[in-house]
Symmetry: C2
Amino acid sequence: MKTDKILLEHGSGGLLSNEIVSKLFLPAFRNPLLEQLTDSAVLELGGKRVCFTTDSYVVSPAFFPGGNIGSLAVHGTVNDLAVCGGRPFFMSAGFILEEGLPVSDLRKIVDSMRLAAAQAGVEIVTGDTKVVPRGAADGIFINTSGIGIVEYAQRISPESIEEGDAIILSGSIGDHGAAIMGLREGFENAGIVSDSAPLNGLVDRALAASGRVHCMRDATRGGLGAVLVEIASQAKAELEIRECDIPVKEAVRGLCEILGMEPLYLANEGKLALFCHKDDALKVLDAMRGHEFGRDAAVIGEVTGKKEGRPGSRALLRTVAGGTRVLDLPAGELVPRIC
Amino acid sequence: MKTDKILLEHGSGGLLSNEIVSKLFLPAFRNPLLEQLTDSAVLELGGKRVCFTTDSYVVSPAFFPGGNIGSLAVHGTVNDLAVCGGRPFFMSAGFILEEGLPVSDLRKIVDSMRLAAAQAGVEIVTGDTKVVPRGAADGIFINTSGIGIVEYAQRISPESIEEGDAIILSGSIGDHGAAIMGLREGFENAGIVSDSAPLNGLVDRALAASGRVHCMRDATRGGLGAVLVEIASQAKAELEIRECDIPVKEAVRGLCEILGMEPLYLANEGKLALFCHKDDALKVLDAMRGHEFGRDAAVIGEVTGKKEGRPGSRALLRTVAGGTRVLDLPAGELVPRIC
């Protein structure tokens, strides 16, 4: 690794996040499941295809427009299972609490977890609580892990992507990142609300509409931009998306202009990118638009090339101005503790 | 709850830990699996009995004689699965890192996780890394969750305990707690080493020796004392253990005398208490003694009474001096960040 100390950027979802995974975690834990680097591991357990995922949540502030760290922790893990084609069933909840945290805050957070789990149809079946002295943590951190069953026949993975596939985005981008940044920077009256939501119902509809959904990913840390760069690299494919087809809410766009941020790299907590066979794109789009969390779904681009071992795997953005830009992993533009 | 702020004691494994679970988490997430309050949830998934558990690790210091937070995080989760009769297969690892953590420390910790996972025969298949700014965490926190398969026919649970059952302890108590406390208090040359170890191999042997193992629990936070009080309460049973039969290492006993601690309530990370039919006790004991982590196993007591709804469910200690003491959950005697 390039540095001898951990930097905030190692947790950004960008370049240094990739480095810590590829240079430190992967070499240590190397196994075929981990190497897929998908949001969940899909494994054989007792003869069934089971998906398994984990995420820790450290978002600051813990309460924000549209949710709090509790609902976020449920949605994030439900979504990581769903985008791997898994039906989420059970979750764990591990709490790290700072001494002095108001019990009333914990109650609100736990209540949001209960509601979020009920909405997603999952049960929280095991848990753990640790308390650390004042100053050894910041309020509350939550880890949620989740398990589910994968029944979809087509393997959902960047490797399954084919040339010509349509790329569908489930709705407007940047809402979660803008909500948190707005709150931090004193724009809490901008009317921006996090999009934090469980996507398993939406995914159910999309998968029922087509047997040829090849890949899905929720666009969390690093935003849609980072997700597409990673998928292009893992799929060894060239993708092209059209800026004009990507929905961005007016308020989000406005805040981004003021703060000098790009919606494409802002975190989402209720949005996914889906790759499917081009002939099924309209069926899938229709199915998604019929769901409350996919009303603004849009076809935003396609897979323009895929060759084994082709070094030119990349994600291209056709800009509104008519130019073409090669997307990179975000570097340096940090939004720490966004989730 | 009795307080309006979270106290260190809410994470102690004692009285207030019980309160936060029974007054806050259980009412919110209420479901039959969580209500069992066992170390793992045992659930039906795709027609199989799957066990699922989670734990966050915040131990301070992160490096201690006999291990570090990484090996501890693997052992703890492996053991939570094993004592529910589960064969651990897969684990997740979620890291919360403080900005500025030396990369070399992280490497050592991850390397210990790799070795511990290999020794226990589990694979780390999914993970997550978050970085928080300096001062928002203390070095490194790790969450591990684990899943496994339960094949043992007898249900392993306090409810399965029968009157007359033998209580077997797998070895000496207090080693982990004393190692951490010794380090903190400047007795690092006392020669006390944490007992942190994976217990799934030991459990395999015990279960192969008898079909009538009724309950197991690893004696972590709160020590053997807290575990027995909890089991007595959940089993609605009266237990009796003999102080003279409980192995405590000389160095641990010495440190406890200096620091005014009781080995019975000190954390262990490689010890379990096992309840089995009295006629199988010697077979199980023999099997355990044949394993490296059970060499000092001993029958320490028995279940002296079990009646439905009997209010007098309790754990009794016959002291070396010849008296009898009713064991309580530890209160006030805090060892924060022991695991």
